[in-house]
Structure formats: structure tokens, C-alpha cells
Symmetry: D2
Subunit: 368 residues, 4 copies
Amino acid sequence: MRFRAMVDDSATPAIRATFVEMNFASDNTAGIAPAILDAIAEANCGYARGYGNDDWTQRVERRLSEIFEHEVAVFLVPTGTAANALALAQVSPPWGAVFCHAESHIATDECGAPEFFGSGLKLVGLPGDGGKIAPQTLQAALAEYGGHSPHQVIASALSLTQASEAGTIYRADEIEALAEIAHDRSLAVHMDGARFANALVRLNATPAQMTWRSGVDVLSLGATKGGALAAEAVVIFDPDRAAFMGERRKRAGHLVSKHRFIAAQFLAYLDDDRWLALARHANAMAGRLSEKLAAVGLKPVWPVEANLIFVVLPCALDAKLKAAGASYYVRTSESLDVGTDNVLVRLVTSFSTVDEDIDRFVDLCKKS
Amino acid sequence: MRFRAMVDDSATPAIRATFVEMNFASDNTAGIAPAILDAIAEANCGYARGYGNDDWTQRVERRLSEIFEHEVAVFLVPTGTAANALALAQVSPPWGAVFCHAESHIATDECGAPEFFGSGLKLVGLPGDGGKIAPQTLQAALAEYGGHSPHQVIASALSLTQASEAGTIYRADEIEALAEIAHDRSLAVHMDGARFANALVRLNATPAQMTWRSGVDVLSLGATKGGALAAEAVVIFDPDRAAFMGERRKRAGHLVSKHRFIAAQFLAYLDDDRWLALARHANAMAGRLSEKLAAVGLKPVWPVEANLIFVVLPCALDAKLKAAGASYYVRTSESLDVGTDNVLVRLVTSFSTVDEDIDRFVDLCKKS
Amino acid sequence: MRFRAMVDDSATPAIRATFVEMNFASDNTAGIAPAILDAIAEANCGYARGYGNDDWTQRVERRLSEIFEHEVAVFLVPTGTAANALALAQVSPPWGAVFCHAESHIATDECGAPEFFGSGLKLVGLPGDGGKIAPQTLQAALAEYGGHSPHQVIASALSLTQASEAGTIYRADEIEALAEIAHDRSLAVHMDGARFANALVRLNATPAQMTWRSGVDVLSLGATKGGALAAEAVVIFDPDRAAFMGERRKRAGHLVSKHRFIAAQFLAYLDDDRWLALARHANAMAGRLSEKLAAVGLKPVWPVEANLIFVVLPCALDAKLKAAGASYYVRTSESLDVGTDNVLVRLVTSFSTVDEDIDRFVDLCKKS
Amino acid sequence: MRFRAMVDDSATPAIRATFVEMNFASDNTAGIAPAILDAIAEANCGYARGYGNDDWTQRVERRLSEIFEHEVAVFLVPTGTAANALALAQVSPPWGAVFCHAESHIATDECGAPEFFGSGLKLVGLPGDGGKIAPQTLQAALAEYGGHSPHQVIASALSLTQASEAGTIYRADEIEALAEIAHDRSLAVHMDGARFANALVRLNATPAQMTWRSGVDVLSLGATKGGALAAEAVVIFDPDRAAFMGERRKRAGHLVSKHRFIAAQFLAYLDDDRWLALARHANAMAGRLSEKLAAVGLKPVWPVEANLIFVVLPCALDAKLKAAGASYYVRTSESLDVGTDNVLVRLVTSFSTVDEDIDRFVDLCKKS
């Protein structure tokens, strides 16, 4: 029922159940968007060649070329960590330094996957307000690299997270400014787009503007957080850069054998602008939640631009919310000292969040 | 319709379509077994914690402990290559040698995944009739290792494929004999069980007999070829050996975020002995096909003990079959010289193979 | 002549030449201490088994056990980078985090060797005045690790540089305090002792006090900077931790075939307390240089406790010194802003520095 | 005395000692050729920039360009394993297959160094009489590669050992034939030249003929076995292929800090055709030994073309020789069955072997 009410009217009875409410733990605690599940079922018809030699996969490739208005090489994988690590290993040598936000997912939540896939490359974490890297920060960091060969690793890539881990968004001109600095030093520009759609619908930019037109060379495009079962894509805008990526993916165990089903998820995600609709819903829910929280005196600490809200809660309220069944994670951030009586919490909305989740949550906050 | 008629009567309309016929290319060209697809849909209800902290995953672990009559540590992953490579990296150091059949999947079809995950470990390919390693072959190979430290890599693991790539099966006593040789030299014993169920139903052995009771330490247990969308498990029989496997899997990008859906596949695969039923059907189809081929003078080159048939076809017949729409792969084997007028072909049956596929294929052979 | 005058009266004619003066670039721009060169020549007598199976190597092992008053496992290698990277890979898994000073050699000057040898482990650079890590800094950094398995790498090791890159020295009680924090969290403690002897003679501590008695588990013990041609040792205080280190070293190409010559260097370095005499000379020269510089208004920025001096020079003086033939490196440090008219320079003394080098250098500074 | 008598009259008293006799264990059980040791001492004069930025290193580079009549990029390292592993990692991707003789040093004696440096590349061992790969063997092996992307590793390089591990030598036209097959399939051609000089003087070919003119792309050029302390060079004939080799070497810990001393060894090795004289002596001793052995009925099993002799000895004689103090290794070879009453032994001569070693050894054989 909730899914129906929300963004899709094709929900099958199975998913019209009652959900555990107030789940703001992550966008991956949500299930599969009904249309995407349907697409899996529809693809389950007859035989198809394995390992990506199927029609669904070809259609995804064509579709992404259209959407990005550019020839692209596409490699589907089941997880975002795989997409990021494969992408970075593809654009940075083992002796390369990849510049990223110090609190980015690749730096803190992938258990060293970029280093593993990249044969020991080095991530250089940069500070930055609201999860974003400022051009001058990148500039200053790069100034410390070069001229000390072969003792120092070589500045090789910049990785931007869009939307950021703090729920903020890089504008196209911000990406462009960062990419220009990077390209001047021959760095490749990678974008971790696990929440790419959430950024896209917020900015009202085209996919092309937010990527290659602004200087992005390789994109990890996520569908899982947006509503797929498990479907991520490495999108490479210069097909020359894609050489041997097929081997790289295979030897990482990330070439799914019944590949049509990962491709079918992506098609359903992209078709009829469904990815945008799903993201718009998630963002709208985050907007509603942040406004209502602000109204009860709990103003988010960073601008709420996608589907993530960071807010400081008194410990007592935190305990009360959890007792009432709310789910979310407590986070720490180097740039924020919340004292000992408070916690910084992250609230994530998704395609499946409904008004009632929000209203009940805020209600509990109000009465505190 | 075909699925229904075959092994499952819960098929939804979507999969009652007409299939491309005579597809013997691989067991991964088949789709998803209906009950497994249903299980995915059923799991799509409300929120669940990500990364394996969900009820489905716990149930898989309990279920596998019951099935194997042993405490086990279980790590679900989306591909068989991942399962094999993670398992081998877990039981062999970078300076280890892993002994396997020269034509095993890990040696020839995983693009170096074991070497990648294992930080450069070495696979030592052993010869063996019908895809199986003989005890004396292993014994002789091991005699070449040891006593030359630190110049030589260290014999660390034995990997057996069950059912083998040639479609043959190790009996429990054969596994035991090999494992004893391996354990005497402190090697770990890994089993690549991408087609474990096919072996199991053929032998009428228990899962325990075919694994830990015979000396297997770590199993790659496949569900994908048997009917899942993408679900494989690393099953470790000595939980002490599982230390930090969670980190290893995560940094390889193989920890699926919406983990309940991979677990749900496995549950459906295992529940009600469905895995056995699906495998029995595949094996039965292979039996039928091999008998009929033999009857028309095309005797399989190796015993047909699972769902794989290898047969030598005259090139003209090969061309005719392909023209008629049959799908299969031509293989080469070091141990078989088929001459220039013939090809060695591999025919794979699956849970979705139906009688008509076989009859039409044999019919075409008959008339040649 | 200079060498003779300095620390050794066994110099052969070949090295009595006139040196380029005022070379403070590094302790590796110096040559070989005469007694060590003589030892190479003496070892060049007849045949000896390769790869460490020789008498010289056994004697080094015994000698180091005596010196450290502890059973030790010793692995000789030709470079300090190899010693560090092998040591860290031995005590940290690929998913481990190694905590070190942000400006330590392993973090900035080894082109990612620890990450390469460690299959992608992660170095976590910590800030700290004068090249040293404060206990509370380590404590705070560790507080960010743990409880987020398997998404986050695991805190695995602490690496301390003794003497530090800034020329300062950890006292035994400082090492003990840091090691206690590390051990409480099950981290191994590594010491990069490229300039171990310089620290030792300064502190007047025993090798045991400065290492295992204070909690150091593994030491990279350098002889090269102290006067050897190329000889470094990984010293492991708990032989159990040394398992398979022989294989690790061999597969890294760091097992020297004519091993007696690397062992002979080490023996000569250690015999008759030569290592201490050579280091005392280097330290004394640094003391003399820093005092004289301070007397002309150029006070070192960090305490001069070993053989490294960091001093801020006006750009004009820097130019003048270089024009006069002085050699040294300009450095930057995140913790020091020297403005645009000055440079921070590093002056390194060694066993071969003589009074005249210092006097002439200071003289040039004086007149500025 | 022996060294003097042999190839060099500049020996210092220290090495005029009596040697353990009949040492045929390896060419690395010999010491340092006197002229090379002298060169180290001569280089020990004053200061020199570290890490290869010294005059000696530049001279080695120029000298090798002259010797090979070709612009070359040169990277000096302390061990042959490092040279081989760095060279192979430079010319093969992680998903590459490197074809080599099954009994080559890289395949059997480097503890997986090529796999480690090559991030998990795969060595494919080929059979071949007398340690050499036949063109048709390579051809047949390559036929098994290709067309199965991305499941199979990609044929990337051919590695030839010159002189081979069996003491035989590839003629220039044999190298050319193999290299042509390799290049036709875009494989790089590597030569493991640990005993390059021994091959060179035997063939009376120029260094150019035996390498780039015959299709060799990268050479591991050894000096250690020929008389150096520890000095090997990776010689890259197409400088474009050398990109980032400096970083690769550094992060492997193989950039020696006091680099002048490794360069000085190489200069002394090459100057005045000393490398050829040293190798000629070793080869002549092998020739003498093999002829005398044949005369007493112990005919070497493979042609003695360099400084290695393989001969089958009755176990009783083996015991007697060892009791008399002779040193050598027993080897096994897949292609040779010597029965249970015999052993296959390898006898290695070197620049330091003298007539008396041989005469006494043969004398012992004679009387058996």
C-alpha cells in the first residue's frame, strides 16, 4: 500500500504489507521498488546468454549513452563498493594517490576496497565542510605532490561523492572547478554516484552536465539505494579508458553470470524516468522531515539537499526515539563537536519512506 | 508452462512463456526457478537491516548448519568466482600453492581471481582423466614441494570441483583419500561446489558425508546454476578458519547491501529440499540426453554423472545443430584429440531443461 | 683523512680523498665506514653458502640476540623501505590500519611500499609536534576505529620512527605509554629505526629498554645511514611472529644471494660498539652545528636530539649557501608556516661529517 | 691466490686465502671478483647523491647503451628475483599470462615473486628439453589463449632464460623465432639473463644480437652470479615501456639509497670486457669439468653450453663425493627419470673455480 501511494502503482500484493515504521537507517534498508522487481520477473523468460552477452545488457548500454548524451562504456556490478573500487583501480596506478573527502564512503566504509583493487594505491582524505571538497583545499593538497619522484606516490585521481555523505550536492560549476584543477595535473576525475539521482533531481541538471560536461571521467552510478535489488554501474565516458575493464571486473568476481537480471533492474530503474521519480520522492521526504524538525527546534547541521539529514539530538530524545522503534545511525564528524549530552544522528529517507514515518518521528521529537 | 511441468507448480504467468529451445550452453543461461523468484518478492516487505544483519541471513546460517550437521560459518556472495577466490584466499597465504585440476574453473575461467584475491598465490594445475584428480597424482605433485624454503611456494591447499568440469563426480571415499593426503601435508581442502547439488543427488550421500566428514574444510556452495538469480555461499566448517572473512568479503565488494534478498534466494533454494529436486531434474535430463545420444552412436566421452555431457560431434552435425538453433559450447581438452573433422562439445542441462529440448536435439543427431 | 680523523683509523688510501664539503643532504650521501668496507673485503674469502645459510648470518643473529638481551628473529635486507614494508606486512593484515606520524618516512617517502607489501593495508597519518605522536593523539585516533565491522579497516599496528623524521627522540617511557595504548587495542608496535643508533646513544638507554622492554614488537634496524653500504634488519622480538617471514622476504626479492656480505656489514657495524661510535659522531656534529647556528641567530625549530637539524633560513642565505657548495634539502611541514621569504631546511650530519664542514657552513651564515 | 691466477691480478691480500674446494653448489657461493670489490672501495670517496642521482649510475646507463648499441632505460636492483619480477610486472597486466619454461627460475625458485609484483599475474609453465622452449610448444600453448575474454587471463609475455636453467643456450635465431611468435600475439619478450654473459661468450654474438635485434624487449641482466656483490639491472630497450618503472622499483624497496655502490659494481663488471672474461673462465671450467666427467663415463645429460653441468651419479658416488667435501645440489627434472639408485646433480662453475677443484672432483669420480 505504501509503495503504491508513493511512487508506483504497479505494486504486487506481496509488497503491500505493513512496514516497520520510522526506518531512517539507510536507503539500503528499503526493499526493491515494485517496478524493478517486476522487471526481474519479466526477464525470467526463457534462456539468455550469460555474462552480459544478452539483450538487456545491450539495452542498458544504449540507454545510458542516450541519457548521458555521450558514448559510454558500461560495466554492471552488484555493489557500490565494487563499482567504486573497480573504477578507481582503472584510473589510478598502484603508486597513485586518489584525493577524496576524508569522510567519503571510499575512505571510511569500504574496508580498504580501493586499496585492494588498486594493488595498494593510496587514498588521501581531504577535509571539507558539509562533506564537500573546496577547490582551494584540493589545490593546496596537490601542491604537496610532485617533484619528489620516485619517493612519493603520484597524484592520480580525484573522487567526488555526489550527493555527498553529508547529504549536500556539488553544483555543476563546482564540479567543473574541481575537475579543472584535477585535469591540469593530469588526474582523472571519478564520481561516486551511489545517490546520483538524488543529486540530479535536486539540481535540475542533466546527467551530462553533472558528469562529462563538467569534467567527470568515470562515474559509479548507483541504482541499489534508489530501489534496485543490487545493481550498480561503472560508466566510463572515454571508452579508451575502459580497456581491459572486463578482465578487471571478472577477476574481481563481479561479472554476474545471469547478467540479464542485473541489466533488467537497471533498465527498469532508468525507464520512464523512474530513477528520477524515485529520487524525487526520497528527496521530498527528506525535505519534509528536515522542515518539520527545524520547526521543532532541530535544525539540520548541513543543508538538506538530497535524502540525508544530519541533526543533533539530545541523548534523552535519542533514547526515546529508539525506544519508540525509530531506526537511524549515530555518526561522528571531525568537524562537529556535539558535546557529551548530544548525539549527531543521520536520517536517511528513501523511495519507500512515507508521510506517516515522518510525522510520527517528528511528533516524538516535538513532545520532548 | 515448462517450469511448471518440470519441477515447480508455483510459476507465475510471466515465466510461462515459450523458451528458445535446445539451450545447452550453460546452466546459467537458464533463468530463476519460480519458487526462488517468489521468495525474493516475499522478502520485499518492509525494511530490513542491510549487510547481512537481517533475519533471512540468520536463517540461512542455521539452515546450513542443520543441512551439514555441523556448526558452519557462512558468507553469501553474488558469484561463484567470488566464492572460490575468497575461500582460497582464506585458506592459502600469498606464498601458497593451491593444487587443482588443470582444467578446473578456478584455473581456466576466472581470469586470475584466485591469484588476485590471494595476493599472488599460485595455482598448480594437475592432470586427471574426466576432470578428476587421482590420489597418486596429488601425491606425486606434493613430492615436488617442501624442503626448498624459502625459494619455493608452500603447498597450502587442494581444491576439488564437485561435480567436476567434465561432469564427473568424486565419491566420498575418493574425497577422503585425497583429503587425507592433503591434510598429512597440512593443506586445507576446498571444494568448488558450483554444482554441489548435482553431485549430491547423484551419489545419494549426505551433505556432511560429501564435505567435512570426508575432509573438506571449506566449500563454495552454489545456488545460481541450480536456479537462483545470483547466490553463492562460502561455507567454512571450522569457524576458527573464518576469522576476518567478513572484512575480506567486504573489501572485495562482495557484501551485498540489501542482503536479505541474497539470503532469501538461498532459503528458497534449500527449503523443502528444493535444491535437490532442481538438481535431480537437471541430472535426469542429462541422463536422458546422454542415453539417447549413445543410442544414435554418440557416446559421451566421460561418464555422465551430473548435468554435463561431453560428446564428440562431426563438424557437419555441429553445423547442422547450430543452424537449427541449438546452443552449446565447443571445448578442447588436453587429454582428448578429436581430430580436425570433429569437435568436442559440452551440453549442459539445468532445472529448466525439458524433454522436448532433448528430443529435438537427438532427433537432429539421428538424421545426420 | 677525514674518516681517519673522525671515527676510525683503519681507512684505506682509497677513501682518504678530499670530500665535497658541507654535504648535509642526507646520511645516505656519505659513503661506507672504513671498518665496514674492510669487513666486506675480509668476508670475500673462499666460498660460502648463499641466501643466509652462512656463518656471518648466524653470527649476526646471535649478536643481535645478545645486544637486545632477548631471543630475536632477524631478517637482513638491502634497504630501509624493504625493512619497513616487510615488517608492517608481517604484523598487519590487508584490512589493517597502521597508525604513524603523518610526516613519517613510511607515509611520505616510500612510494606506497607498505601498501604494496601489505596487499593494500591503510596508513593512517597522525599529526604531532616535532615528528612525534602524542599518546592522546593516538588514543583519539583509535577511538574512531572499532565497532563498525566489516565496513572499516581494523586498527592493527602502530609505527614509531626513532629517531623521528624531525630529529627528535622518543624516551623509553614515551614509547611505553604509546605501546600500552596500542597493545590494549591489540595493535602490534613497529619501530622504524633507520636512525636507531642515533637515538640510542642520545638517550643512553639500552637497546632492550628502547624496544621490547617498552613494548616494541618489531624493529626495522638500519645500518646503512649509520655507515654500511646497504644493510638493514627486521628484528622480531617474538619469534612466533616471524612465521613465513622468510617466504615474504624471498618473494619480495629481498633475500640477497651472496648473503654473507650483507651480514658481514652488520657484524662490523655492531662489533666493538662501532654503531654507537659512528652515531655518537654524527650526533656530536649535529650538536655542534645546531649550537653554532643558534649562536648566529638561527635556532633550530625542533630539539636537535639526533643527527637532523631543521632550521628556517632567509631565502637570500639559502641561495648564498648553495652557491658556496652546501648541499641540503628544503622541506615543508604542515605544522610550520615559514612565510614566503624563508625556507625550512633540513641539515643531516653523519659519521663522515667533519668540523670543517660545520665551521665553513656556519661561517657563511654568520656573514649574512 | 686463486683469484689472481684466474682472471684478475689486482686481488688484495684479504682474498688470497685458501678456499673450500670443489664448491659447485651455485655461482653465488663464490665471492666478489677482486676488481669489482676494488671498484666499491674506489667509489667510497666523498659524498654522492643518493638513489641513483650520481655519476656512477649515469655512467652505467651510458655504458649499457653503448654495449647494446641501443638507447636503453636501466634500473639497477640488488637481486635477480627483483629484476625478473619488476620486469615482468612492467610488461604484463595483473590479468596477464606469462609463458616460461616449467623449470625456469621465475617459476620454481622465486617463491611467487612474479605473481606478487604482478598483482596476481599467472605464470604458464611450458615443457621443453634441456631447459629450452621450442617454438611449436609456444605456438601450441598460445593457441589455447584468446577468444575467451574476459574469463581467461590474457597472453601477455614470454620469458626466456639465457643461459637456461639446464645450462643450454638459445641461439639468436631461436630467440628470433620465439619472439616473432610472441610479438605476433602482442606478447612482450623478457629475457632472464642471470647468466647472460655466459651465454654471450659462448655464442660469440653481440649483446644486441642476443637481445633487441632478436626481439627481446626487456632484459634482466645479472652481474651477481658473474662476480658482483649484489648488482642486477633491468634493461628496457624501448624507453617508452619504462614509464613509472622508477616508482615501481621504489615501492618494492629496490631503490638502493647509496646507489653509487651498486652502479660502481656494474661499471667494474662491464669495464675492460671484464664480464666476458669472468664468464669465459666460468664456461671454460665447465667445459673442462664436463669433458673430464665424460671421459670417466659420466656424460652430462644436456649440452654443456654455459657454466652448468647436469650429470647422473650413482648414489654411492654421490655419497663419496660429499664425504670428500664436494658441494653441489641434487635436482629433479620432470623430463628425466634417473631411477632409485642414481641422482641427477647440478654442478656450477664460476669465475672463481680453479683447475684443482675440477681435477680433484673428477679424480674422485674416476676411482669409483
